[in-house]
């Protein structure tokens, strides 16, 4: 995933669509979007009006050297066949070690029992689409891996395209291509030309998420 910081205007539509798509549980007092967990949190990094990119959407980084996968005692968080980090909430024991290990603070805990809608109960739980949420387990953004299997883009990407910002790109590193629903770019070329970087690269977690800094104009 690549996020173009120059294009994000902090509208938080990505968070809204994510919350709706996954029926995200409440945040129980944490920083939230209308009371729901912000699996993709749009963080305002600067109050300076001159700052060209004061907003940073922060989903899960899907690290290739993920500290959360390393420390889970029961193997409840693992890499699925698309190399995305997912959480199996049937096995999770709620020790929250993965949350302590994540340096980006991108995991959330169901401190209480989340509310359920009747139609949720007809969905068979899979780690790719973690609805029904249960009390005492860990949640996180999983890059909509259920959508990837259907050939669609993640909810946040489609939300940003819908709003016209087109700031979030999703793609395949092996094929070297990313798209935001409208434009298609070569991943390696756009990272090279725009100077794409990864957040807290020095920690060695090898995130799969790149940020594109704003170009000086």
């Amino acid at each position: 995933m690549v996020i173009d910081l120059a294009r994000c205007n902090g509208c938080k539509k990505c968070t809204e669509w994510c919350v709706t798509e996954h029926k995200v549980p409440p945040a129980w007092g944490n920083p939230s979007y209308n009371g729901y967990q912000e699996w993709i949190a749009v963080v305002q990094t600067s109050n300076d009006p001159e700052n060209a990119a004061p907003f940073r959407p922060t989903p899960c980084m899907n690290c290739m050297n993920a500290p959360c996968v390393k420390v889970c005692p029961v193997g409840a968080t693992y890499y699925n066949d698309e190399n995305l980090v997912v959480v199996d909430n049937v096995r999770c024991i709620g020790c929250r070690f993965c949350m302590a290990a994540c340096p980006y603070d991108r995991r959330f805990f169901n401190w209480g029992e989340p509310p359920h809608t009747p139609d949720e109960r007809f969905i068979n739980y899979t780690p790719d689409f973690p609805v029904l949420h249960t009390k005492g387990t860990v949640e996180k953004c999983n890059w909509c891996s259920h959508r990837a299997r259907m050939g669609r883009l993640p909810a946040c990407v489609e939300a940003c395209r819908n709003e016209g910002m087109n700031a979030i790109f999703f793609g395949d590193a092996n094929e070297d291509v990313i798209t935001n629903g409208e434009e298609i770019f070569s991943l390696s070329k756009i990272l090279a030309s725009r100077g794409g970087y990864r957040f807290m690269e020095e920690l060695g977690t090898e995130p799969s998420l790149y940020y594109l800094p704003p170009t000086g104009k």
Binding site: W28, P31, R91, I93, C95, A101, F108, F109, W111, M200
Partner: protein
Amino acid sequence: MMDESAATPKLVLPLTNYGKAYYAFVGLLLGVVGFGTYAYSTQLQSGLVVTAMRDNVLWGLYITNFVFFIGISHVGALMSAILRLSGAEWRKPITRMAEAITACSLAVGALMPIVDLGRPDRILNIPLYGRIQSPILWDFISIGTYLAGSLVFLLLPLIPDIAMLRDRLSGVSSLRHRIYRTLSFGWRGTPYQQDRLEKAIGVMTILIIPIAISVHTVVSWIFAMTLRVGWNSSIFGPYFVAGALLSGVASVILAMAFFRHFYHLEDYLTPKHFRNLANLMLTMIIVYIYFVLNEFLTPAYKMETAEGQLLGALFTGEFSALFMAAQVGGLVVPAILLSLRRTRNILGYSIASMLVVVGIWIKRFVIIVPALARSQIAEFWATYQPSWVEWSITAAAFAGFILLYTVFSRVFPIVSVWETAGISEVPSETASPTTISGFGFTASQASSVQVGSVSGEDL
């Protein structure tokens, strides 16, 4: 061959002489434990939302208690094993006290992470699907091993005493007598059995030391194996072990003072013992201060951004009161108390130990919570005010520990009888002049006795 055991009434008196104060004390402790259980039941029902932990400060009082109690449990290895190995004869009256603290605090400490789990009903997933790469699995293995080892280490020197109780203590319920009979393993004091016991104790003495060191090292790695600022430090292993030894010694001093006063064991727990342990504690305080300096001076010199923010919170920010209480009140003040001639008495030692114990508990809190509250991403900073559920369960943990320890001291002699044979008791005015129930000896008969000559004493 067992010689006739003469009176060591003070040591066995508590085993049968249950006064009103005892029952009241136990009742109080049971009450606290009961309330804690009720608090836990609300947590089981509604989930961890009843605590004050949230997505940022995701570990709080429960893990603080866990680290603290596992820390205290190191005293068994230090007191019994190291002192046994070094041939310090003065350690004999206090070894069992120390080993009992180990066993009881391990039992309570091992429960704390289970209380902290979001899904305790899935606890079996750990052995079933356990991943050896996870520090929690290392914890599981090492604490389990240490618990087994410390129970064995507690039991072994207890066997001759249990045999004595089995043979000579009357007026106890048949259940208790059966317990004594089972746990004495047919001890008769024969040289063959002594030989076996000697071998077993010798092996365990040597084995328990690396296990104990590994336990708290592994516990510290739960924090040190993450990338969090404040936890991402390579000296956490020895740092935590030093703190554990310090808190363990302090707890033994407290236990000694308690038993000396309430069980009238002045003959066995002399000021010399207190002095030696106090010197040991002073040494440990200095060692721990050395580690604290290492832990905070090095990042403070460099003032890397995220570390600098954490240090700011600790030294001048919202955690400064707790931090200073832990460091100054928990380390510097006790060190002073232990050094000044005026306070070098049992009362002074006890106060210093109490300060150390409380200070170490606060220190554990200060290691865990600020690093979570002040994570590297400034937008997610949070605060933490523990809820009544967490405080109740903490109180219940302490009460449970004290309860286990007190009941142990009332079922088994807290000072090893056969090892301290040779210490003559001064008749105490408080002892009843008539026959002490259960023993058939008057208090005036105080002749030294050899309860089985075990050459293992010189270990």
